[in-house]
């Protein structure tokens, strides 16, 4: 669907969010009728601690241009420390990705609580803008397909 | 055993606190410790540099440390509490702050390692003297004394590492081991007025006055100090003190090193007590076998 023409390029962004804070926050954006770009689609997890970062790779391999990972604020985790572990693992994973030369600006890590409907809209919009500027992640997708992802497979 | 230690006397020990230097030298000699002066040492800058010029307040002490390091010294004895404080603080700050250390190194043209063990007089006594006093002691320091530590020797406590912040005991213990009775008093670490001695003698009179009076009120027969500034404020500034408190108090002020020298039976010339403004009229008893001491005590009653 996508073209390489940046003007008509519509980024595809996948959001991995936790059930208790950001999912509920995004619900609030809806109930408050705050508008944002339709490019982002949400996948629900019990907690950011559940998020296996290979999933991010999987998303890129399947054509995502950007990813948002969002959960509860540091001390508000529904499971006390899941988000803390997610964050720590993310740091390590990020360094690894940096090392193999991936552009980590395509991944946005944030905290959105159940009360922050407006913040969710803002994060979506700025992320979509950023990714639009970065352009399609085609080379990125290739890199992943070739290097990291072979053995995990497409189902 | 060959005992040797670096020595930084500092300016006052060459001048107004000459007797402190003499008594430390006497003490070292008595216990076979060689004091080796830091080569070509300069003034540490004291409060003046601290107050007026931050660069100097680091550069002057740093040059002393550099000279000592260059001479291969590991420990240095710094009897003056003010110098001890400046040298310790500068070494501490430079030790933990690399960029500052580089800047200072550039000014003094040296390469500081900041690993000297800087000893104050009490640490020196604990390390080289205390264990050996026993046989050498001839006289019993059978007096009630007030150990006065002042501020520069003990603060900041986390850097200088004194035993107890508000109520240090190290000097008291040395004095007790000589047979003295040390008073428990609250002004051990109050300030005497330090560097304001010349410019605001009035203030020094007030501050030192409180200290001298408190010691006298609690029955001290001498004040024991470890700092030339404390000594000059409490000893030479007696007129200002008397003016401030409105009474005459004649208890002498003795350096801790002099006190040990006295207990060793050294002469006035060796201890330097003849140089004090307030005369040191203290008669010490001969040290005798334990039971006799007990009898003496009962006689006193």
């Amino acid at each position: 669907m996508e073209t390489n023409n940046n003007n008509s390029f519509e980024p595809k962004v996948v959001a991995f969010v936790c059930n208790w804070c950001t999912y509920a926050g995004a619900d609030l954006t809806g109930t408050s009728r705050i508008k944002y770009a339709p490019n982002v689609k949400i996948i629900r997890f019990p907690c950011t601690g559940r998020i296996d970062y290979m999933l991010l790779m999987k998303a890129f391999a399947n054509g995502a241009d950007g990813i948002i990972v969002s959960g509860c604020h540091p001390n508000d985790c529904h499971y006390t420390s899941g988000n803390f572990h997610a964050r720590r693992r993310w740091m390590i994973f990020r360094n690894l990705c940096d090392f193999i030369g991936m552009d980590m600006n395509r991944v946005v890590f944030s905290w959105v609580s159940a009360a922050e409907g407006a913040k969710w809209a803002e994060i979506v919009n700025t992320t979509v803008d950023t990714i639009r500027q970065l352009g399609p992640a085609t080379s990125f997708q290739k890199l992943i397909k070739n290097s990291v992802f072979e053995e995990v497979g497409n189902e | 055993m060959q005992k040797k230690i670096g020595y930084y006397p500092g300016c006052s020990l060459e001048g107004s606190a000459r007797e402190y230097n003499e008594s430390v030298q006497t003490l070292a000699k008595a216990f076979d410790v060689t004091l080796e002066q830091v080569p070509d040492w300069n003034c540490c800058g004291a409060t003046a540099a601290h107050n007026l010029n931050k660069v100097l307040s680091f550069a002057l002490p740093a040059r002393i440390l550099a000279n000592a390091e260059k001479a291969g010294m590991e420990n240095i004895l710094v009897p003056c509490a003010a110098c001890y404080n400046r040298l310790s603080m500068v070494q501490h700050e430079l030790g933990k702050n690399e960029s500052l250390r580089n800047e200072v190194n550039a000014i003094i043209e040296a390469d500081l390692k900041c690993n000297l063990k800087i000893l104050n007089i009490i640490q020196f006594i604990q390390m080289f003297i205390s264990d050996f006093v026993g046989d050498k002691q001839q006289l019993l320091f059978n007096k009630k004394v007030a150990c006065y530590y002042g501020c520069l020797l003990v603060r900041p406590n986390d850097v200088l590492g004194f035993d107890r912040a508000e109520d240090p005991q190290m000097m008291d213990e040395v004095m007790k081991s000589l047979g003295a009775d040390t008073i428990d008093w609250p002004f051990k670490t109050e300030c005497c007025g330090a560097g304001l001695s010349v410019s605001r003698t009035d203030i020094v009179g007030n501050l030192s006055g409180r200290i001298v009076k408190e010691a006298a009120d609690r029955g001290a027969e001498a004040i024991i100090v470890a700092c030339p500034m404390c000594h000059s404020n409490l000893d030479m500034r007696r007129p200002a003190i008397e003016k401030a408190i409105g009474e005459k108090i004649d208890i002498p002020v003795i350096y801790i090193s002099q006190a040990i020298d006295m207990a060793l039976g050294k002469t006035q010339k060796e201890t330097g007590i003849n140089r004090h403004f307030v005369p040191v009229n203290i008669e010490l008893k001969k040290k005798e076998a334990e039971p006799q001491v007990v009898i003496e005590k009962t006689e006193e009653k």
Binding site: E10, V14, A26, I34, I42, P46, R50, T80 | P186
Partner: protein, 666 residues
């Protein structure tokens, strides 16, 4: 073969205004595995629900996707509907096309396309859903209450009155805690013992309560519903069943000069003792560290004088084990000792005391029979200086927090002093006055206005002794830092409330978390204030942070209500969305490599080790094992497991990978 039903809701106009619902339904009908796809105006209405139920039966559906509002809104509704039609409720998912789509985007193709993508994603997910059954855990309806202060007493009585068994474990020889030491209590100034003692007696008498004093928790294992608690009963050196509590032994014991813990060192006790006359149980224990017999092997006076021959010198510690459904922590707090204050004399001045010591001086049953007399010489002090925030709000001393109770008890102390010594002058040095409870501010104002307590805003720098007086050097910060020097007869430090001794070890035994000051942590500061992060373990009172009595009792009743709520079921029903360790047939058994990373990251200590043994009992392999009663389903372990040996029901690998692919493959 999957047979999925898709139900697209218009929500009146809420969805259909921006999303072309008919198109979504049509496109969805062509997704592989979709047996039926329809749209309807209001899915959650009765006709809407019937539509779903009928389709399940008619099309023999294996899964349902309701594309409507947020699952946080109607997931239970539709899962129930499915269950009613005979489909396992966990085979129903919701696709959120309202909050996450129609309400946040403009009308247009992109919005409709997004709705289609969302539906596709959930269809792929639901194909991989499994039929699940809720987990049921049986509950032992006994609560162990640890600590017998007012918190423990209140909670124990509440639970016992609700008809459940309670075992109370108190480490001192008597229950009562700090409240039993208090004189009168703010803000009403009623006598502490008078209100507490009857409740202590109730505990001892209650048929549902078993009281173990002089006892401690040895170990705890198991989980919510079924804890196994081992209790150490320290030897009291006497047979409690035989002892009548006559006190003859106490009167005759020759060791009489042991500083009494109850009197905060202001009074003395004997080696065989009860802490205070109203103690419950009112039977003595021998303090072996101080008893001449245990030290020197001679004495036994108590044994000789005991009319019932109750003394047992050779008694040893014993143990009891209790099966408990819930644990309740009520171990209280302590106060910092005056020796922590170098500037106030390192605790060496006898007349510089702490707040609890003042309570004992003011207490009618205390060492001075309620007369305020200073400890050094028994004189009645003419001037007392109270110092608030002593060691609290003092990061330099390691405690930045406000202890919360001392403003109030200091006002109380000054007031009690003034009531007893009319000519005396109380001064209070303070930083701020925190009096936020009901009638608290009024209480403080009364101290200032009616009892003429002199409040001085400033911290005291130094206290020292001179000629039998305590010289207090402070300032008045409301007068530009003007120095204030008071020659006082007595100084009372409102020392910081601190975590009780031993709380850290206890927390570790129970796997509950605690803060850096060693107070136990609540599960959520606002919404779960009496729960810990470990299911089935609750908190009450000052062991969580210093609290006054009203707050302590409120927390205790709250915690008791939680326990009673838990005990109101025979079985504990839990959502089955939890982690499991994948098993495989021998000889592999499981891909788990036994690295036990998962054990370290689980926030609930839900994972332990499981040994796989052959028929002869030899261990073949040690793998991890998840306790379904403890697992809360966060999934952290899943993400951490390198060998992908753990999965989590409802969010398993298959499901989430399928979702990611489906979301992007338009």
């Amino acid at each position: 073969m999957a047979r999925i039903g898709v139900f697209i809701c218009h929500c009146g106009e809420n969805i259909s205004a921006t999303v072309d619902c008919e198109k979504v339904a049509k496109v969805a009908s062509e997704f592989p595995g979709v047996a039926v796809s329809v749209d309807y105006k209001y899915m959650c209405s009765d006709p809407g629900q019937n539509l779903v139920k009928e389709a399940i039966i008619e099309h023999k559906l294996t899964g349902v996707v309701v594309s409507a509002c947020s699952p946080r809104m109607h997931e239970p509704t539709f899962r129930n509907a499915c269950a009613e039609a005979g489909l396992n409720p966990f085979l129903c998912e919701m696709a959120n096309i309202r909050e996450h789509c129609s309400w946040v985007h403009e009308k247009g193709d992109a919005t409709t396309q997004k709705a289609i993508d969302i539906v596709r994603t959930l269809v792929e997910k639901v194909k991989r859903n499994e039929a699940l059954a809720p987990i049921y855990v049986p509950i032992s309806k006994t609560a162990v209450v640890i600590g017998g202060g007012v918190a423990g007493i209140q909670a124990a009585l509440d639970i016992a009155d609700a008809g459940h068994k309670v075992v109370m474990v108190e480490r001192e020889p008597s229950i009562g805690g700090h409240m039993s030491q208090l004189s009168e209590t703010f803000p009403t100034l009623d006598c502490s013992q008078c209100i507490l003692t009857p409740r202590m007696v109730d505990v001892a008498r209650h048929p549902n309560i078993t009281l173990y004093t002089y006892a401690e928790i040895e170990s705890v294992d198991g989980s919510i519903g079924n804890f196994n608690v081992k209790i150490r009963l320290k030897s009291k050196s006497l047979d409690e069943k035989v002892c009548t509590g006559c006190g003859a032994c106490i009167q005759k014991c020759p060791v009489k000069k042991i500083p009494s813990e109850f009197e905060q060192g202001l009074g003395m006790r004997t080696a065989i003792y009860v802490p205070f006359p109203q103690a419950v149980p009112n039977k003595p224990v021998i303090d072996r560290k101080n008893c001449t017999y245990y030290i020197k092997g001679k004495c036994k006076v108590c044994e000789i004088v005991c009319p019932t021959k109750a003394i047992r010198f050779d008694q040893e510690d014993s143990f009891v084990e209790v099966q408990a459904g819930a644990l309740l922590l009520a171990t209280g707090f302590d106060v910092l000792k005056t020796s922590a204050f170098p500037e106030y004399g390192y605790g060496k001045y006898k007349d510089v005391i702490d707040g609890l010591q003042f309570e004992r001086l003011a207490s009618a049953s205390g060492p001075t029979k309620g007369e305020i007399r200073r400890p050094s010489d028994g004189q009645i002090p003419k001037k007392i200086v109270f110092i608030a925030c002593a060691g609290s709000r003092d990061p330099a001393k390691g405690r930045e927090y406000c202890s919360k109770i001392c403003c109030m008890y200091t006002a109380k102390h000054a007031m009690l002093y003034k009531h007893k010594v009319h000519e005396g002058t109380p001064y209070i040095f303070y930083m701020d006055i925190r009096a936020t409870g009901k009638m608290y501010e009024e209480f403080v104002r009364r101290a200032i206005e009616e009892d003429e307590v002199k409040y001085i805003r400033g911290r005291v720098s130094q206290v020292y002794e001179k000629n039998g007086k305590l010289i207090v050097r402070g300032v008045d910060t409301l007068l530009m830092g003007q120095p204030v020097e008071i020659e006082a007869d007595m100084v009372v430090l409102a020392t910081a409330g601190i975590a009780n001794q031993g709380s850290e070890e206890l927390a570790q035994k129970l796997h509950v978390s605690y803060d850096k000051h060693k107070f136990f942590s609540e599960a959520h500061p606002k919404l779960k204030p009496v729960e810990t992060n470990t299911a089935g373990i609750f908190l009450a009172g000052a062991c969580q942070s210093t609290k006054d009595i009203p707050e302590t009792v409120a927390a205790a009743s709250g915690a008791a209500a939680k326990v009673v709520g838990l005990f109101s079921n025979d079985m504990l029903k839990r959502d089955p969305l939890i982690a499991i360790v994948k098993k495989s047939p021998p000889p592999v058994y499981s891909s788990c490599t036994g690295c036990f990373m998962c054990i370290q990251v689980c926030p609930y200590q839900a994972i332990d080790k499981e040994e796989i043994k052959d028929r002869n009992g030899n261990i073949i392999k040690t793998i991890s094992h998840i306790n379904p009663g403890l697992c809360q389903g966060c999934g952290t372990c899943v993400a951490f497991c390198k060998s992908k040996s753990i999965d989590i029901l409802g969010y398993n690998h298959d499901q989430v990978y399928a979702e990611v692919s489906a979301l992007l493959n338009e």
